[in-house]
C-alpha cells in the first residue's frame, strides 16, 4: 500500500514540475561550463630577448589541457550534464514507466553521486585557478593571468557556471531525497477511496 502511495506521489504533484525546471537549469549551467572551458585556448607572442637590435619572439599557448584539474573539470561537467539530460528525458518521455521504490532510490543516489563529483571538479579547478592568478611565492610559481588575460577570464566564467550548477544540483538532490521520504498529501484521499470500495 505504501508503494502505491509513493508511486502516486512521484509521478504527479508540484515537486516533479519544480524538479524538471531545476534539472533544465542545471543541465544548461554544466553544459555551458564544459563548453567554455573546453574551448579555452589563447596563443600569444612574447619578446623573449634581444640579439643586438633584433628582438627574439617566442609563441606561447595556454590551453586547458595543460592543467589536469581543468581536464577533470571538463569531463565531470560533461558527465553531470549528460546525467541531467537523461533524467529530463526520463521525466518527459517516461510517463508509462512505473516509478517503484527502488527506482526512486536509484535516482536519489545518482543525484547525490553527481553532486559530489561536480563539487570536487569545480573546487579543484578553482584552487588551480587561484594559483594561476596569484602565483605562490613560497614555491616560486609565477602567476600567469597577467600575461594570458583572456584565458583567465574565460576560465573564471566557466567556474562561475559550474558553481551555479553545484548549488542547483544540491537543491535537486535534496528534492529527490524528500520525494523518497515523504509521500504527497493528495495520495491519502485516494487510498481512503480505495479502502471504501473493498468491503
Amino acid at each position: 500500500m505504501a508503494v502505491a502511495k509513493l508511486v502516486l506521489a512521484a509521478t504527479s504533484g508540484k515537486s516533479s514540475k519544480i524538479l524538471l525546471g531545476l534539472r533544465v537549469l542545471a543541465f544548461l549551467a554544466t553544459l555551458s561550463a564544459a563548453i567554455v572551458m573546453g574551448l579555452n585556448k589563447e596563443t600569444k607572442t612574447f619578446v623573449v630577448g634581444n640579439v643586438g637590435n633584433t628582438p627574439i619572439k617566442a609563441t606561447f599557448t595556454a590551453k586547458f589541457q595543460h592543467t589536469p584539474a581543468f581536464v577533470y573539470f571538463v569531463v565531470a561537467n560533461a558527465m553531470v550534464s549528460f546525467h541531467n539530460l537523461l533524467m529530463i528525458a526520463l521525466q518527459l518521455f517516461g510517463r508509462k514507466t512505473e516509478l517503484t521504490g527502488f527506482r526512486l532510490l536509484s535516482i536519489a543516489i545518482l543525484d547525490m553521486l553527481n553532486v559530489t563529483l561536480l563539487s570536487a571538479a569545480a573546487n579543484a579547478a578553482a584552487f588551480m585557478a587561484e594559483v594561476g592568478k596569484n602565483g605562490n611565492k613560497h614555491a616560486r610559481w609565477d602567476k600567469i593571468c597577467d600575461r594570458f588575460a583572456t584565458y583567465c577570464d574565460h576560465g573564471a566564467g566557466a567556474l562561475i557556471a559550474a558553481f551555479a550548477g553545484v548549488v542547483l544540483m544540491l537543491i535537486i538532490s535534496a528534492v529527490s531525497i524528500s520525494r523518497l521520504v515523504q509521500p504527497n498529501k493528495c495520495s491519502i484521499s485516494t487510498t481512503a477511496a480505495s479502502t471504501s470500495v473493498v468491503p
Binding site: A2, V3, L6, T61, A62, K63, H66, T67, P68, A69, Y72, T100, G101, F102, L105, A108, I109, M112, V115, T116, L117, S119, A120, A121, A122, N123, A124, A125, A126, F127, M128, E130, V131, G132, N136, H138, A139, R140, W141, D142, I144, L170, S173, A174, I177, L180, V181
Partner: protein, 164 residues
C-alpha cells in the same frame, strides 16, 4: 535485532570516519620541513598553499561533526536532518580532497607549460606526509559515501526497497 545491528554498524562506520578525518588533519598540520637550496633556506609548511589550508579546515569540520553525531540518541527527530548534513559533509570532503590533490600534483610533477618547478625534490619528507594525509582523507571520503547510503536506508521505510 535487525535494528540493533543496523545502529551498531552506523556507529562503527562513523567512528572510523572520525578517526580517518582526524588522522588527515594531524598528518597535514605536523608536516613541516626545512631544506637549504644553495644559499636560500626553504621552509615548507602546509599553510603556504591555500588548498591545504582548506583541506585542514574541511577535515576539522568533518571530524567535529562525526564526533557530535556519534552521541545522537536513537529516538531523536534530528535523524532526518542528519541525512542532509551527511550529504553536505560528503561534498565538503570530496571538494577539499580534490583541491588538495590537484595542487599536490603540481608540487610533485610541476607544470612545464607554466614554468612551475616541482618542489618535492627538495622537501621529500614533507611530500610524503602530505601524501599520507591525502590518503587518510580519501579513506574518510569512502567511509562517508557508505554512511550516506546507510543513513538513507535507516531513515526511509525499509519495505519500500522490496517490490511488495
Amino acid at each position: 535485532m535487525v535494528k540493533v545491528t543496523q545502529r551498531l554498524g552506523g556507529l562503527v562506520l562513523r567512528f572510523a570516519a572520525f578517526c580517518a578525518a582526524l588522522g588527515a588533519v594531524i598528518a597535514m598540520v605536523t608536516s613541516r620541513e626545512r631544506s637549504s637550496f644553495f644559499v636560500l633556506s626553504l621552509v615548507a609548511k602546509y599553510s603556504d598553499l591555500a588548498a591545504f589550508k582548506y583541506f585542514v579546515i574541511a577535515n576539522v569540520i568533518v571530524s567535529v561533526y562525526s564526533f557530535l553525531v556519534l552521541f545522537l540518541p536513537k529516538e531523536s527527530l534530528l535523524w532526518k536532518f542528519v541525512v542532509v548534513l551527511d550529504l553536505m559533509v560528503t561534498m565538503l570532503l570530496t571538494s577539499s580532497l580534490s583541491a588538495a590533490v590537484a595542487v599536490a600534483q603540481v608540487g610533485k610533477r610541476g607544470n612545464a607549460n607554466a614554468g612551475w618547478l616541482p618542489i618535492c625534490g627538495q622537501v621529500p619528507r614533507f611530500c610524503d606526509q602530505i601524501t599520507g594525509a591525502l590518503i587518510a582523507g580519501l579513506v574518510a571520503l569512502i567511509l562517508y559515501v557508505f554512511l550516506l547510503i546507510f543513513s538513507i536506508h535507516s531513515v526511509v521505510d525499509p519495505f519500500l526497497l522490496r517490490k511488495s
